[in-house]
């Protein structure tokens, strides 16, 4: 092979020399060089056949159903070398429901225009049998059927997305860009509501349009760069209200239209060759108006005192950062981000039942994120990294409801105080401010020429202002507001003992401690019971990953990886009406194992083959124990195990220099004992498909095992 290359080298030199003498004709004759420096295009066409449904695995790829498909793809890139004009066309999966294509025309460094279309299907992996009538409309009626005696309904959605991009350079340093994206989302989604007695099945009719428009001007100077622009986004829903007749009419609000406008300015400046500063200023106004919902609702169902409201959010963003290579060895970075989201929705009551009435619940947030990082290169193979991070979040308190102040706890301790100004936020304690301080450190060392390793740690501590007690029975510190100590350690290793072998290993371990989340034994309820604090107590996450790549020969390569991840949480829950058994501890865990093996290579000059194996197993554990009643300690929910396996084999035979045939054989397997859509029969002797209660009898079912084989053959022509 090398001998052939050496010969080619000489031919190339000769051809260039000939081109100099005889012009382009001689140059064009050097097909090998032209082939290497000219953008390649290809078109391919073929067919595929699949022998079974892939209800779960095919939810996004347009290949959920068994049967045949036409495969049409293209990747065409044409460049005019004299002018720098590019014309491209890319088509992917044209014969499938997940089809997409884009085309573009540009003159490099001058202007460009492109258009893209893509469809993202989203299938519901379960089958629905229901007596519901009016599916697809906004007026639906539940008809009672025996489970399984209704009509089968296939639920699916799709997004059709259209993107138009334009850009124009006005000089070497000034560019105007425009992006417009419109997405039509249509379909049917599994839905439902509370009927007043039990959950009721419904189908949400999806028919909405999302539009985004971004127009910005970019200036790129030697030291100064600026980008300023306008970003607008609009959401329009054709359906504002779903009426579900059970048979009495229930009115379910659907997502309202909304829109937002943003003006922004980004900047960067090179203070010196080694120091760079960046900044951003942005202001966004988002509004939403509920008039279409009010129009759709029967007038009699709306309180006469409520005439609608325009909700309004105003967000201000700012960022300022400096990074500098102080010396060849030391670099520093400081950065501050500010985000202030003011909910300026008027505070009004929107009904008069119940008493006190429901009121609008605007939430405002102010966040500060600051970091200081340092990198110090001890020597060529040893680097130290350190960072300090401060995150502050401030929340507005819920509005006053002086008509219904909460009862004072009798012996609250810790950092709890009674929120005497709020009761509209039912049930959940509240914290106006959180502060989290994090320290990170990392050492990266080249141990040998072929061995690099790094060891990292991080410790963070989150606390905040006093909790506002809003309900005398709720002692939870919400997950995102609770005090938390978090420790992380990480180890990475990269070993390349030779040109042909490389190995990567990674081990991460993180541990969260929420301390005494809640008030165990600190509070006595009005009935005299001592209550336990509930919510999350601690959590952990582990990751082990090993990757290896082996270049078996110039023509063969093997890659393999394995990962195991574990995340666990311990949380407590309270059960008021369960006598001596009010407290349960849940030990939750998600454990995943993933394996990937790939091999590819050439068996001859014309034949390239590959094989890939992807296996994944995830186990969800929902162990519960009653911490007060030792006799009933084991109250576990069943684990949920999901397994997927994909084995794919492919072979590409080069028919000639420009054309090839590729064959793909794929074996897909999916298995799950997920009980989400199952329930026990009344005798507790067998699992049955989930069925809604007595008012409709809708049944949702799925298979626990799916296996599908597919074969695809396609012809590809390159030019």
């Amino acid at each position: 092979m090398k001998h052939q290359k050496t010969t080619a080298f000489k031919i190339s030199s000769m051809s260039v020399a000939l081109m100099a003498v005889y012009g382009a004709t001689a140059f064009a004759a050097d097909d090998e060089v032209m082939d290497l420096i000219t953008p390649k295009s290809s078109v391919s066409a073929g067919v595929s056949f699949q022998n079974n449904d892939r209800k779960q695995l095919g939810i996004f790829d347009g290949r959920q159903e068994n049967g045949g498909n036409i495969l049409l793809d293209a990747d065409i890139k044409k460049r005019d070398d004299a002018t720098g004009i590019w014309n491209t066309l890319r088509i992917k999966d044209l014969g499938l429901d997940s089809r997409e294509f884009d085309l573009s025309h540009s003159r490099q460094g001058d202007y460009g225009v492109s258009f893209e279309y893509t469809r993202i299907p989203r299938e519901f992996a379960y089958s629905v049998n229901t007596g519901l009538r009016g599916i697809g409309t906004t007026n639906q009626t539940l008809t009672v059927v025996a489970p399984g005696a209704g009509s089968n309904v296939e639920l699916r959605m799709q997004r059709d997305r259209y993107t138009l991009k334009l850009n124009k350079f006005f000089s070497g340093s000034l560019e105007l860009t425009m992006n417009y994206r419109q997405e039509e989302k249509k379909g049917l989604r599994n839905f439902g509501t509370y009927s007043g007695a039990q959950a009721a099945f419904a189908v949400e009719p999806i028919n909405s349009t999302t539009r985004q428009f971004d127009l910005n001007l970019n200036y790129v100077g030697k030291d100064l760069q600026l980008q300023g622009g306008y970003y607008g986004s609009w959401y329009d829903n054709a359906n504002s209200l779903l009426t579900l007749n059970v048979p009495a009419a229930l009115y379910v609000a659907l997502p309202p239209d909304n829109k937002a406008y943003q003006l922004y300015l980004n900047g960067a400046y090179a203070i010196s060759p080694a120091t760079r500063a960046t900044m951003r200023l942005a202001r966004t106004t988002a509004t939403q108006n509920d008039q279409s919902l009010l129009t759709a609702l029967p007038a009699a169902s709306v309180w006469a005192g409520y005439g609608g409201v325009t909700a309004k959010l105003v967000t201000t963003e700012a960022q300022l950062g400096v990074s500098s290579r102080i010396t060849d060895k030391l670099s520093l970075l400081a950065n501050v981000q500010y985000n202030d989201r003011k909910d300026k929705t008027p505070h009004v009551a929107y009904n008069n039942i119940p008493v006190p009435p429901d009121e609008t619940t605007p939430h405002s947030f102010t966040t500060w994120n600051a970091k200081l990082e340092a990198n110090y290169r001890v020597d060529a193979g040893f680097k130290l990294f350190g960072g300090v991070y401060l995150d502050i979040k401030e929340r507005s308190l819920p509005f006053n409801n002086l008509n219904n102040p909460p009862a004072a706890p009798t012996n609250a301790g810790g950092n709890w105080t009674v929120n005497t100004v709020s009761a509209t936020e039912r049930e959940v304690p509240y914290r106006a401010k959180n502060k989290e301080l994090t320290f990170k450190g990392q050492a990266t060392k080249t141990l040998l020429d072929e061995l690099n390793g790094s060891l990292a740690f991080a410790h963070s501590k989150r606390d905040g202002s006093n909790f506002k007690w809003t309900d005398q029975m709720n002692l939870i510190n919400p997950l995102h507001m609770a005090n938390r100590d978090r420790d992380k350690v990480g180890f990475k290793m990269d070993w390349s003992p030779s040109e042909i072998v490389s190995v990567q290993a990674q081990i991460d371990h993180a541990k969260d401690d929420y301390g005494r989340n809640g008030l165990w034994g600190d509070y006595t309820a009005p009935n005299g019971n001592t209550l336990w604090g509930t919510g999350i107590r601690d959590g952990s996450a582990k990751l082990f990953s090993l990757d290896a790549s082996v270049k078996l020969s110039d023509s063969w390569q093997l890659t393999a990886w394995y990962s195991r991840d574990e995340s666990k949480a311990t949380q407590y829950a309270y059960q008021a009406n369960n006598g001596t058994d009010p407290q349960r501890r849940a030990n939750l865990a998600d454990i995943g194992d993933s394996l990937g093996i790939g091999v590819k290579g050439k068996t001859s000059a014309n034949l390239m083959i590959g094989a890939d194996l992807l296996w994944n197993k995830s186990v969800g554990q929902y162990r519960q124990s009653n911490i007060l009643n030792a006799a009933n300690i084991d109250e576990n929910l069943p684990d949920i195990t999901n397994k997927t396996l994909r084995l794919s084999l492919n072979g590409t035979y080069q028919l000639d220099k420009k054309s090839s045939v590729r064959v793909d054989l794929i074996h897909d397997r999916w298995q799950s004992d997920d009980w989400t859509w199952t329930m026990w029969n009344n005798a507790q002797t067998a699992l049955t498909p989930f069925a809604y209660g007595t008012i409709d009898g809708t049944r949702v079912s799925g298979s626990s095992k799916q296996t599908a084989n597919s074969v695809a053959v396609r012809y590809k022509y390159e030019f």
Partner: protein, 345 residues
Amino acid sequence: MKQWQKILAVVAASAGLGLLATATPALAAADAPKRNLAADPAAKDLILKGDAKCTGCHDEADEPTGAGTMLELNPGVLAIGKTKHGTRADSRTPTCTDCHGESDKHRLHKGSDKPPVVDRSFRKGTKTSAGARSDVCTTCHKGGSKMFWAMSTHAAQDVTCSNCHQVHSGKDKVRDKVSQASVCYTCHKEQRTMMSKPSRHPVQEGKMSCSDCHSPHGSPGQKQLARATVNETCYTCHMEKRGPFLNNHQPVSEDCGICHNPHGTTAPNLLKSRPPFLCQECHEGGNHPSSSSPGGLPIATAAGFAPSGRGQIASVGRGCVNCHTNVHGSNNPINNGTSGDRFLR
């Protein structure tokens, strides 16, 4: 060989039989004559202005660059001609030495032994510092979406442009929606495992890519996100959740990531935990925890969970959302006490 025979050969190879036919090109290469490394003084530019000093040696007979394998990049250097960096009509296009330096020691090396490396090398194990490698690219790519590169986590961790981008390739994997994630997974192993969980975004199918949500070149907002916050990023596709509503659900307004993990979960709908456990991280009121009320704790028995009835409705089906269907917020002003405030309608 006739056409049908060729096709049959492909099928046979796909089934694994082709493994038996492994060629041994490495052995063949060992027998090949050594190549004269001195540049051809008569060489002319092949692609870029002044590239002859490099392409005189790095021509179609060149070895792969080391960034990929023989299967993908052979010969690697000339492939830059297929890219935008190889578009000579664009006056901004650099030439070899703009990126790699004049590299006189490398260029003027005589003999058949291995020459000194170029002034700025981008190969694995290079002695050129990460900062110097990125500086090469940011000399030109310093505006627009690259403006915040110096502030990025990638830059702080010595990830350079060439760690992700294949500059000498007609097909840069990280700029292809289908193959991009595999590049990101080189470092982001946790995300690789999560993306294979039962509930996930359509990244495997190539309908989304990491850069739909993240700005790998740095951003002025959190977590190198495409927009300033988690919520604003999510709203680009899930704008129906934006509101603002008459009745907002506090964590929804604060951060979608409180309940969802966008990289993948075992629980449906990218939820970090299954209802009711997820909901019970905040909600523990005086009514719902009752075993006899809807939405109570998942009732455990020796056999598993309870028979049909109201007690288990928060554990199966859509969980708590069976009833609290508008959990992302509601605009419902119905005057009956069960409207939007509890997200039932």
